[in-house]
Amino acid sequence: MLIINNLHAEVDGKEILRGLDLEVAAGEVHAIMGPNGSGKSTLGNVIAGREGYEVTQGSVSYLGKDLLELSPEQRACEGVFMAFQYPVEIPGVNNTYFLRAALNAQRKYRNEEELDSVGFLRLVREKLEVLHIGDELLHRAVNEGFSGGEKKRNEIFQMAVLEPKLAILDETDSGLDIDALKAVAEGVNRLRSPDRAIVLITHYQRLLEHVKPDHVHVLARGKIVADGGPDLALKLEEQGYNWLEEGGIAPLQQAGSQ
């Protein structure tokens, strides 16, 4: 589904990704782990097409298409979803209204009929039930005044409604207490499906206790430096990231001891 080849990307003229390779197939869950500053979030933003992230080399192919040729909204309409690390507030814009606008924009792009408010509400109720989310989020403005946990849940809820083919969760686990983490993890698990790929970008192993990845990759200094199964995440948890660094160039960050 997603094939990334020798990807180099810059932010403000500074090279962050330095020859990253990654392949993700439909139905798989991949975890990308790594210390702060290794380029994890940059990878997510490059895939989503955020302005300011300049690809200088390499290619990203998504369902056979050159992803880098598409605008951010086209990518979204093609089924690329990113759960944000810091979901923004949009004051005065109703959460339901926003989500319906998004879904209908995507449906329109795919030449599907747009959902009217009745049909949309039915879909929303269905998803809320599956995710065990109350409907209080629906009546509020997008992320406005939401707690950290509510914002993350709202991201998962949006993902459930938009039903992307490729979902990238950018540090969705950060800043969550254990209950919120479990709820988010359950949401993600429910969205696992044979035709959907999920990429979890995370610093810690704890989300992976609840969402079992098929593959774990370690990102350091802009490159994938190690691949493995779920046990790689455990190893990172125990030993931190320093063992990956031959010269100790990466910032000193402990994952396991915190």
């Binding site: 989503a48 097409g49 955020r50 302005e51 300011g52 605008s71 951010p72 909204e73 990518r75 979204a76 309409c77 979803f81 990113m82 944000f84 810091y86 979901p87 923004v88 949009i90 004051p91 005065g92 814009v93 926003f98 989500l99 606008a101 998004a102 879904l103 924009a105 995507q106 792009y109 403005a141 997008v142 949006q158 938009l162």
Partner: protein, 482 residues
Amino acid sequence: MNTENTSIELRLEQKYRHGFVTDIEADTVAPGLSEDVIRFISAKKDEPDWLLDWRLESYRYWQEMQQPNWAHLKIAPIDFQAISYYSAPISNKDRPQSLDEVDPKLLETYDKLGVPLHERARLAGVAVDAVFDSVSVGTTFKEELKKAGVIFCSFSEAVQDHPELVKAYLGTVVPQRDNFFAALNSAVFTDGSFVYIPKGVRCPMELSTYFRINAAETGQFERTLIIAEAGSHVSYLEGCTAPMRDENQLHAAVVELVAMEGANIKYSTVQNWYPGDENGVGGIYNFVTKRGMCKEDNSRISWTQVETGSAITWKYPSCVLRGDNSVGEFYSVALTNNYQQADTGTKMIHLGKNTRSKIISKGISAGRGKNAYRGLVKMTRTATDARNFTQCDSMLIGKHCSAHTFPYIEVLNPSAKVEHEATTSRIGEDQLFYCLQRGISEEDAVSMIVDGFCKQVFRELPMEFAVEAKALLEVSLEGAVG
């Protein structure tokens, strides 16, 4: 100069020969302002002597006044002698008595502007008094209003039919000498609306007026007077659009509202005058004086405005809260795009005890727009336990625009409470990207974010007006991003 004077004289002579009340096709007075021109306007309208004297008095005041320059605006010099102060539309011999008689071309123009007069009047139950250039061309629902005892007519008609009311209230809220542009308006106003709601009457429908400027180089000087007697209610809507043009046009209106005991006046404006092109060429100069007087106890005046048009907007709809427990409100969305400039806000003057005022201002700047909020909250010595709440938010779109806030607060009574909140935000790339990442186009995203920003004001507008206002913002912001 000489030739202009001569042509006025010639015209005047002609008029004298045919009598002043005779209607002629498309008469526009030659540019220039003098006592003669004022006499011409007054005579054209067959006004009583006291009104002519009042105009002339205003003119003399005006001559001694200076154009104000304290606003945060760059205004090219205005040649007041280059403006024509009176024009009437080309029409049949007589003014149409009903919409059916209105020039179809005119109705077509209204249609293009999204003002289906027929439909709007019939479907929405709105009485429409359309001012085209300087003379009213159509009034509907007059009969129904008459039944309720409501007077809703053009200002000129009011002068003829209800001179005692006009005489009693004209200039009582905005005096002739109030400011440069108010003085000018008092001297040369041509038409506008007049509303009188009798005691205890709740006006059975929203009163709506559409203003438009048409003939070239014609300033439009409307004069509106609304009087709400004790215990009455009225909601008045005013919207305007202006077609493409090159020269700057001066628009200096005066609106006066008077609310008696327990009366309630809601005045809503959607202002969409031609803003000039994307290089800042052309556009309307909109220098307006709007003021309401809560004259007696427990009265309430509420201003809601959506200002998207005009090259320059200079406008401070205000409330004088004289009656005890009276309430003044101001809800505003002001948008400046390209080279538009706005210096707008309100004045809340608290005189009575326990008076309350609320100010919600939303300024949006895009392109090279300059947007300033300027507001005065004054608690006088007599305003015991008066309260004010002000919220003033600015949104910036792009990097070349600016937003400014100038709050003036004067408190002379220690029991008064004044609260002021202000924020400035940039439509963040973060917000925009969040929407894009969900598949929403940039244009839709911007209008969604802006609409959310303005929600507090939009919900004060009557329903169909709110829809229109939203659409207007979208149109006005086209090309603001990307």
